[in-house]
Symmetry: D2
């Protein structure tokens, strides 16, 4: 089985190389890079020397050589390769946003500033968040070659954190997602905001109110709420950058529905007191709902009471860790979710999607124990 | 003029040493340290070698030698020194929480787990957030020696970010404060959570729903709302730790009051679109209200449109930087505030309070240009 | 096959857990921890939740349950467990310094301040640097259960960097090893020097002239020189700490023997000029000697000309990367070697030793591709 | 007094802005920037908002407006401005390498690849390392307008560390300088090697054997040795990059001259033992020589026995900290020197030179206490 990667020298591409080269079902890779065509991957990333060695070819050669193709390209440039793959009869896993909005071209265009190149490809495409769409992905994969719109990094962590609360009716009202990302999320191209002296020892939000992942998160929340016949919640989303390489931590604020509030939930306007026994019990009840909801998911870990999700806890793994909390007054559910932005937030989830499409064990190639430090 | 520092070898104490040794009105320091009594400050912190040299004495000796005394001690151990100062007729600036709650001993006790030692001292004490209480501090200082309850680090950044919105009636509903702090906020004592291999390359919240700064922030918000005859908003506060030394960034979510929403503010449940012209204008209007509100404040900078507050921007300075944003739908005000937790969040604000009490120029000793990198 | 780990909750222990749990020949682990006896590993390191789960038992129970035992303990406390293993007839891989000096108890005692507990165990022990001693390790392993003195982190990187130059007679005179380590090298116990605010944004040497790895490096250099019937070189070694988690970079300065100098090697006292063609050729010749020397080593990579070794290049892998350089004047060989201090410098090398002892493929369980970022 | 800065928006330029805006003798700045001409400094660096505000003009306008001019430009582009200043009769402090080699144009050309533009300007220029050349700088300044070749960052730390040993005849033989720099040393332009994900959590040397600071360090060592009628030592210099913003740490290895070795200095080839009493006394004797040598220098601190120089210890200050050590065998002097690369290594030293030229107190504007964290 040969896996192809178009855009292999960007960070997401290099992470695909790393993961797929250790995958038990993948025998060989075929790589393309616009920036380094004609070179070799182990010269671009000397970390790979002695472990793997591949030329960097044209995308068309990769499609021709492969049994499945991944693309880690900017939005708007990969649809042609998707078309080639479908025509050849192989699946295409796209890490850009091009196939994340299904037939809602209007939303895509409003946020990404361009129309679809081949709108008809959406008949063969599905949004690849397994915890939301696994059934549909499997079903479509049986029917023929498939295009996966692999989720964005922020949408993955934010959606997984909010899903159980939405589908179980635990919350009602606005959803606020406050996320902090490591710097690899910005890619390999050197720009001032990711220049070491500018982003080390610094935390700041960016693109407040205008980040392109906003409609993707909102769409996921709406889709999950719809499963429980509920309306779409409004979404406020603020991304931040922190001086670390990997990881996204999302702190998600969801107002509790009346029936899930502790009886002692504070009246507004009263001075805050530390959480009482009822509040702590209410939090634990909700934590158990989360635990149940994700019991069979191979890559979502609802943490035991007392353990708080952190980016370090999932580093270099495909896990999404979730911890469940209430504010002191018992009025607001506070969910903390952590993923590795390059694994569950990009390349790992893409491999997970490949596993589902090709009928492999879903954990295959993704079993590394998170490094502790 | 001799300034005394009790607790001079902790981080806040050392920052006081740094700032006061460059203060134009302070001729000499007198230092005490429980941990290193009998030693010298320049041996504990060799950075000071050749620039300053002081013995570390008993607190009583410091009170006896000084014209004003700062205490950078844990909560619950410094009231006795406050009493000594008042009896001697000099002012006492306390960086712990002991004097932040005025006569509301119940709230202090609920969160800090102990009663006041000398409750009667609250007759001479005032909460030292100049942007809230400058008038009262000045008034009381004229009347005699004063105890300042110097604000906590999170409460400083959070309160300054929310004040104009509250007092001008721009918002109504819950206030959510999501804050990220540098590691010096945890003090100098080595513990696992601040061990380099555990907290580098990691972002995580801590003390979710139970952090002691919660009632202090809530009280400040209530006090400011009361100035406009409005009720106290409910508060949700979540602190995080990030791998940097200094700084607190607070992202504050405040639901817009109807009259401040753009006319085009999105209905709930609709798919998010990028912000329109009306939304951007509404944001700019609120930014101008903030600018007006803080026009005469020496240490609050409302940033121009297009510049986002960051911890780097205030590093090693006494500034609080504030940037003003709306979410894409025009329903929620998003305020970002940044302070240096050791300066405006601790030692710098204490010096600012000293300047007010003693009638010095409020900027004295605090004029350093923030280091760019 | 059951592998036991005594000292499983320190950093080296946790790294052993990570590596051994992915090892194709190891079915199960048995873990002991003094600090957390009675607990479970996945509670101490929640990163492991859902991937592995083991109780923390007494060391004796681990010896009883295991087919091979690793100990990651401070020097001076593990000899008794080594004895138990030998008596039981299983091998013992010791990550402390206790078995690194063979029967040279005098040197051990001079630097570690205590005598051997069971000197007679040195009959069954061997220093486990495979690139120096592989033949002897294999030979002894055939003869019965074996104790491995697993090398120190600095000695591994420094020795591998200097070996070819010494054994091929390329250099003569003092060897200067200037090393920079990540903070995990200091272990998991929180102390001031590894407190985030003290060691972030800082580089400094420590234990100059007195570090305990000095005699171990010197002994290795002498052993390798002896293989070529040369005398032991004098050693100067200076360790530094840098603000990163993993990795040791050693820059090694070795004066070129006359016959290896370029003909144009500068006379002393002349003003330096950039390296000329002859100097660059001389460097390339030596690089090829290094390449030949390590051609069959599975974990030593001599980098191509133009690539400089870096800690990032070996991160989380068992590789030692080496790059070969000359100074501008062509008089001094400058070798740069990089290892991951927790893998090739500790747990990975221990697994490599296990593979050799038990006749597994030497790369087994150590094939992870280094993470690029 | 108006100070002009050409190249004000690079890192060295911005640091000049910071330092000069707090200088007691400078009333106003005049700034030029090629990249941002027509803009304002406080828009490029919003940290400065509210504290200072200047337009960015053409270099010629800056020369016309100023009483002294600093240039923080790449080598080879600033000589024309130097000429303008001399013609106008004002001094010019150049932070590039253009004036560091006096009339040795051959060495400059060999390393920088271009000839001098106005060779005759070297009649008015002097190398501005005050600890080497203060007398000459003062003398020339009395005679008329002066061009200062402000030293490179590595040469400053390395030279100050080696000077006393060379001039006092403590050492003989090669000098090895192993230096580690923070990332601001690479400037503000985003390039891959300073991209956060590439240089965080990484230590590596660069430009081994070919760094342009090599001839400058060698020339300084030769100049100082000549003061004691000694020959120029050979120099090996290796720069490294570490994941921190500011600072250069140099570890300097110098072979002890026979008369300075402890009587017990180890014979080569013997197994290393920890340093004995004689070795420790020999180290302390040399430390005292260093202390005497630098007794009257305002910015060199020879640290007390037991304190090791670190970049943190000099952060944001103009100090060069030096600690003195011997290897365990008593054969090699190991000097550790630390500077802040942007202050003593660039902008601070430039201000120190201005103070000398204009007859100000040499410490003026450079008295900030190093920040502890």
């Amino acid at each position: 089985m040969i896996a192809g990667i178009i855009g292999a020298t960007g960070y997401a591409g290099a992470e695909l190389v790393r993961l797929l080269s250790g995958h038990p079902k993948i025998d060989k890779l075929s790589l393309a890079s616009v920036s380094f065509e004609g070179g070799r991957i182990e010269n671009i990333y000397p970390h790979f020397l002695g472990r793997l060695s591949y030329p960097l070819e044209k995308p068309e050669a990769v499609v021709a050589a492969s049994d499945i193709v991944f693309a880690a390209l900017p939005s708007g440039v990969g649809e042609g390769y998707a078309k080639l793959c479908i025509e050849k009869g192989i699946s295409f896993i796209d890490l850009s946003a091009d196939f994340r909005f299904d037939d809602d071209e209007a939303t895509f265009t409003a946020w990404y500033g361009k129309p679809y190149v081949h709108p008809e490809l959406r008949k063969s495409s599905v949004y690849g968040l397994p915890e939301l769409n696994r059934g549909r992905i499997k079903e479509l994969a049986l029917a023929g070659p498939l295009i996966i719109g692999n989720p964005g990094c922020y949408p993955t962590g934010a959606s997984l954190g909010a899903f159980p609360a939405l589908v179980k009716g635990i919350v009602e009202g606005n959803v606020i997602v406050d996320s902090v990302s490591g710097v690899t999320g910005g890619g390999r191209e050197p720009v001032r905001s990711f220049h070491f002296p500018e982003c080390s020892d610094n935390v700041a939000p960016y693109k407040v109110g205008v980040h392109r992942h906003t409609p993707e998160i909102a769409r996921n929340l709406a889709a999950m709420a719809a499963k429980a016949s509920r309306g779409a919640p409004a979404l406020i989303f603020t991304p931040h950058l922190a001086p670390m390489n990997r990881g996204i931590l999302s702190t998600i604020y969801l107002p509790l529905a009346r029936e899930w509030k502790p009886e002692t939930a504070a009246a507004p306007n009263s001075a805050p007191l530390p959480p009482d026994k009822e509040t702590n019990e209410a939090a634990e009840n909700i934590r158990k709902v989360y635990e149940d909801f994700y019991r069979d998911e191979p890559f979502v870990r609802v943490l035991p009471a007392g353990v708080i999700a952190s980016t370090r806890g999932v580093r270099a793994s495909n896990y999404c860790d979730i911890s469940v909390h209430l504010d002191q007054a018992g009025t607001t559910l506070i969910i903390v979710s952590a993923i590795d932005n390059m694994v569950k937030g990009a390349a790992g989830q893409a491999v997970q999607n490949m596993n589902i499409i090709l009928g492999f064990e879903e954990r295959a190639g993704l079993e590394a124990v998170p490094a502790v430090f």
